[in-house]
Symmetry: D2
Subunit: 219 residues, 4 copies
């Protein structure tokens, strides 16, 4: 984790405590990496939407990551969330807890990946029902099938879907890496606190530059 994030966290006691408990090791890159773009759709990128915020800076950083990956021929996968308007395919408990699911109805456009990222037809789009991209989706099978052992996780929100996806990734045996400028959150304090947790527990928090260099080296 960068010194910048640790500094922003302003909680030296917590950092020390986690270090003593042995958290925060490095997993590094595995043999074959894919970029996993989480929920870059209007529901989240439209600042006027219920759970939206301005993610223009994050979008630009993701484009840098995508350029590097596509140039290197590395796989790219996208996720979004979209429910049937009758909610027949999702749970009531999730609607009770997070009623903003009402902003993610299928066919209304808000769930479409933003055009700036120029998703290509052969870049899978996984519709996920909950925060983790691995929960009740075919993602694990697609990654295993293609021999992908490393996921570079970008998109939003750091405190929600990014964190959950990173946790699932390490739980399932994958190397997970998060370029910190390429993930965003509606709350800056939640962004910082969760980057810290992610780095301590689930994924290596790195920079976009690290990712670009890795793909440039043909890895």
């Amino acid at each position: 984790m960068t010194a910048e994030i640790v500094h922003a966290l302003s909680n030296e006691a917590l950092v020390e405590q986690y270090r003593n408990a042995g958290f925060g090791g490095r997993v590094g890159w595995g043999k074959k990496a894919a970029v996993l773009v989480i929920d870059m759709a209007g529901t989240w990128t439209n600042p006027d939407a219920m759970i939206g915020s301005n993610l223009e800076g994050v979008t630009a950083q993701i484009k840098t990551v995508l350029d590097a990956a596509r140039d290197a021929g590395a796989p790219v996968l996208f996720t979004t969330m979209a429910y049937d308007p009758t909610y027949s395919d999702v749970t009531q408990v999730s609607r009770l807890k997070t009623p903003h699911s009402s902003t993610m109805l299928r066919g209304e456009g808000a769930a479409d990946v933003i055009p700036e990222l120029e998703r290509r037809p052969d870049e899978a789009l996984i519709e996920k029902p909950r925060a983790s991209a691995f929960l009740n989706t075919n993602l694990i099978s697609v990654l295993v099938d293609r021999g992908i052992d490393t996921v570079v996780v970008v998109g939003c929100s750091t405190s929600g879907c990014i964190r959950s996806t990173c946790e699932s990734a390490v739980d399932l045996g994958f190397h997970a890496l998060v370029p910190q400028e390429a993930v965003g959150d509606r709350s800056e304090s939640a962004h910082i606190a969760n980057l810290f947790d992610i780095d301590q527990r689930y994924a290596d928090v790195i920079t976009v530059d690290d990712v670009v260099k890795h793909f440039a080296e043909g890895a």
Copy 2:
């Protein structure tokens, strides 16, 4: 399992061996049942399609089950299989093993539930990537959320998606029941052999009449 099926199986030695090994117990009905209609779409119901066969009789039986369930207010859920034409969302190993996945492309109509079953908007349609309706889909969450502990499995094919779905159901703690006239297969011998296996290992094989009676009793 009905005497009829055991008779059709013509393998008294196998029946005896399974009985001695303790297979074939009854799980019965739980507290709240849903009907799960598996893959009743053109890919399978069109006799001219690669893996299709004539399922008119089965369709009629399913309608009887659906009428009973809907009258009783019991939940109904449907599944189908549909892949992106680029195959970006499925595995290569599944395509190698079962190349008929090429007949299940999204948007071509063959994956749509047949109109005879009159699916209602609030009856969930789960797109599943593989045979079991539970594999990498949100089905488990929807069932838990609604307090459903019993699934009446109908549709096709007995030897493939029906069998797999029943196995997952019992694996995950559900009561599974299969009304034998409401499931079908392109091969009659595979149909019979798999009904036997299903009844011995995963689900109670019963009759459509049993299901109608159960729902009529308001259960």
Copy 3:
């Protein structure tokens, strides 16, 4: 969530932002609740252990919850973590990230549930490989099988296994409830921050008194 926790969080801006985004709804109790006791073993409860801390107060609160549940005949389940000393049954990436897994070796006693909680033989002990009690364990099947739709999550650590288990619970369609005095963490600030997140996203944060009353009412 109690006013006390919101106050301790000292981040009014964050609270407001989450409220505007629609987070923090109530899921309430379902029809049948079980108590899920997470990781109350020496690895975590021994203050001298690598990731241990003093959890005496939490232990006392858990005993109050267990008394109420057992008196009401409600199911109780325990979890712990324990690895083969060769690490053949776990992942290298998890060891790299959280090397304190070396304190959870099978057969060394540190993974045993502490005797103060008097686990009964018919109260399941689930060995889990990672933070969530649902990840790669038989827990989901056991809960479905017994018609349990609500889990009261107690134990440790709030920021790790409690949080993850609550997220999985709501993801899988369960009602999850966390009595705040009956969960603990080695870091007080992480405890507070994660109770907030849990309450906003995954589970209702309530009090031990709420749980005792619920079970006393025979629910």
Copy 4:
């Protein structure tokens, strides 16, 4: 699939029907293979046990496979089934359907891998609750973590745990291969019929010789 098996199946019509439907493709070997030894414990290998049968010939073939894998440095993993005597960790529906679970109680020895296979300490032993080695166990994570994309499935029973494990393997994106002499079943007819189904749908049925050659080539 070998001509021998097809011949034994004595159902030319079925074979033809599956071929026309596009089943039975080859998945072949991936990049890194492990041997997965299913349920070679007294519960199944003791001919006097409820679901046991004489598997001496199969045991000898498995030893040949293990010798080849160990010489090549390929990973080996074992499974068994073992329940708490109170059944607190398994489902009632599984006990109702297959009451022979009463022969798989933890600590009674019948669940131990047979000594003939000389399991080494670093060869993982996965306790599985149901037929598939992947269902509610940590197996998927261990395989992903080690970069294993191919499983050579041996052990018993062909019609139960072997079949289910192969289905899960392909569902999850793995290449699965079954050396036919190294899997066994209490029923010869079930053995033959299930080898056919496995080969058509889930895994390539090959010979022990094929496996030995593959490992000898350093693959």
